[in-house]
């Protein structure tokens, strides 16, 4: 590789994250439980991938491994991104900080200057349509608003002081599962809007087929105990309803195999 080739071009050609033969076993000996087994998965920079599966398929485990919160037992995870940002089912905002300060926290940790932080916080609050709520505390916000603050905070966590060329990666662990149906619908739209404006790659875990098909460009179905990649679909050139029906059928099939044991 020649020295003239800029690092951003290298990254463009690579994947954002690549998992090869990743397995995770909890516990030892008799009590050992295999949560994941031989998972191969790659996400391109700027791609939106949904991980779908029933309970116990290790979706959250997989996300934790990519986030670096846990280490895989076997296999390799290659990240070509800045440190991945994570969003959980609970907003997990710091209850002692206002919405604005919650978003500011990762910027502080990353070492941004004061003026920089304020500009970015204002920008992110506007992005999630919470411009007027900067000074509200988490307990003064609704569940949907809290998740939007959490989204803005995750996006803030992908920012680096020297504006590195690495693409961003957002990991989302059933972020809308605890919300009511209308709020969930609005937030899905919101997430898509934010996604289109930020060019980050997203790995989104859900157990809701409709959500997966609406949000993802690609839907990956995992089996349960241990979690393995069963099949994947592209939602780009398929009709939404058809692919939803197909995935639902396949998911039912996968779940049924557990009935006899």
């Amino acid at each position: 590789m020649t020295a003239t080739l800029s690092s951003s071009e290298q990254v463009q050609s690579a994947t954002a994250v690549e998992l090869t033969g990743v397995g995770k076993i909890f516990g030892r000996g008799q009590q050992a439980v295999a949560a994941l087994d031989g998972v191969d998965l790659s996400v391109a920079p700027g791609e939106f991938v949904c991980l779908l599966g029933a309970s116990g398929c290790g979706k959250s485990t997989l996300l934790n491994l990519v986030a670096g919160l846990d280490a895989p037992t076997v296999g390799r995870i290659t990240l070509n991104t800045s440190r991945p940002a994570v969003m959980f089912q609970e907003s997990a905002l710091m209850p002692w900080l206002t919405a604005g300060r919650n978003i500011e926290l990762p910027l502080r940790l990353a070492g941004f200057g004061r003026a920089d932080r304020q500009a970015k916080v204002a920008e992110l609050l506007d992005l999630v349509r919470l411009g007027g709520s900067a000074n509200k505390r988490p307990h003064e916000l609704s569940g949907g608003m809290r998740q939007r603050v959490a989204l803005a905070r995750s996006l803030a966590a992908t920012q680096r002081v020297k504006g590195s060329d690495e693409p961003a990666l957002l990991l989302m662990d059933e972020p809308f599962a605890a919300l009511d149906a209308i709020t969930r619908d609005v937030l899905q739209g919101e997430l898509l809007r934010v996604y289109e404006r930020t060019a980050t790659a997203v790995l989104f875990v859900t157990h809701d087929v409709r959500e997966a098909v609406r949000l993802g460009q690609r839907v990956v179905l995992l089996s349960s105990r241990p979690g393995r990649v069963v099949q994947e679909w592209s939602t780009q050139d398929n009709d939404g309803e058809d692919v939803t029906a197909e995935i639902t059928a396949r998911l039912r099939e996968v779940i049924s195999t557990h009935a006899g044991r």
């Binding site: 670096g68 919160l69 926290l105 940790l109 609704s142 949907g144």
Partner: protein
């Protein structure tokens, strides 16, 4: 799927409807009436009962003096200016001892909470020390340090450090586990996680520990001053109480007890209560305001 504009309007509508409504307090005088009238009423009842008991002359005068006699003793203390010396000696010691306790107990509590070996090694000891009356340290302190300020500070520290450290430990134990995990994904190093996440998240428990630590400091100080007295130690509230006791001077004894109570309650009400209230209210934990 609805178009973007409809979606935006639905979202804005939800934002207007969903957030919890915040309760507004009544006028200030009502808060005052609720907070101050009951204790004042209780005090009045107490004094009336005392006056009646004294008038009934069930106990001799040297055991139960009249409320007015005790009051005039307090007034003497004020008018002679001796009150300044007595209060300053004790309060400055208590505050200094308490602050030293905070400086020692905070890193200790962090270590016990976060390092498993340390917790296993000294966690039980710390809880045990909390239930050991710190007056038990007075004889040892006098033998080790002599009748000097050092003895008194030692006893105060033995009283306050376990409370403060234990408060911090339980504050940290009660942090929802998701918060440190989030901190990690936001890029917090060990040190910045302690500063930006662990300590603020543990603040309510830590404050409870500080409050108890203050109460224990004050108690231990009084015990120490009461037992260990010498001209070197100056005249603190405990020594003043002891003086009254040696001269069989019940009004002085009661005046001293009253002042000890007053300082303890005063610091709690003026310092700890407002801070605790502000901290809890900022987090939406308004249970304590009732």
């Amino acid at each position: 799927m609805p178009d973007a504009e409809v979606q935006d309007r639905v979202g804005a509508g939800l934002d207007a409807l969903d957030p919890p409504t915040t309760r507004t307090d009544g006028p200030r005088w009502r808060g005052f009436a609720r907070g101050f009238l009951p204790p004042i009423g209780a005090l009045v009842v107490f004094i009336v009962v005392w006056q009646v008991l004294w008038a009934a002359a069930i106990w001799p005068e040297y055991q139960l003096p009249a409320p007015l006699t005790v009051w005039s003793r307090l007034a003497d203390l004020f008018s002679s200016g001796q009150i300044v010396e007595v209060l300053w000696t004790s309060v400055s010691r208590a505050v200094l001892g308490f602050l030293a306790g905070v400086v020692i107990a905070t890193p200790l509590g962090l270590l016990v909470a976060k390092v498993r070996v340390v917790r296993a090694a000294i966690g039980p000891l710390l809880s045990g020390l909390q239930s050991l009356p710190s007056v038990a340290w007075v004889p040892a302190a006098v033998l080790w340090f002599g009748l000097k300020d050092a003895s008194i500070y030692f006893v105060v520290l033995m009283g306050s450090v376990p409370s403060i450290a234990n408060g911090l430990v339980s504050g940290i134990d009660q942090i929802p586990p998701i918060l440190p995990r989030v901190g990690k994904t936001l890029g917090a190093s060990q040190l910045s996680a302690a500063r930006h996440i662990l300590l603020p998240a543990a603040l309510p428990g830590y404050l409870a520990g500080l409050k108890q630590g203050w109460a224990f400091s004050w108690r231990s100080l009084m015990a120490a001053e009461l037992i260990a007295h010498s001209p070197d130690l100056g005249l603190g509230l405990g020594a003043y109480l002891n003086q009254g006791s040696s001269y069989n001077d019940m009004p002085t004894v009661m005046a001293a007890i009253f002042l000890i109570l007053l300082v303890g309650v005063g610091i709690e009400l003026l310092v700890f209560r407002p801070v605790e209230k502000a901290v809890l209210r900022a987090r939406g934990l308004t249970g304590a305001t009732a």
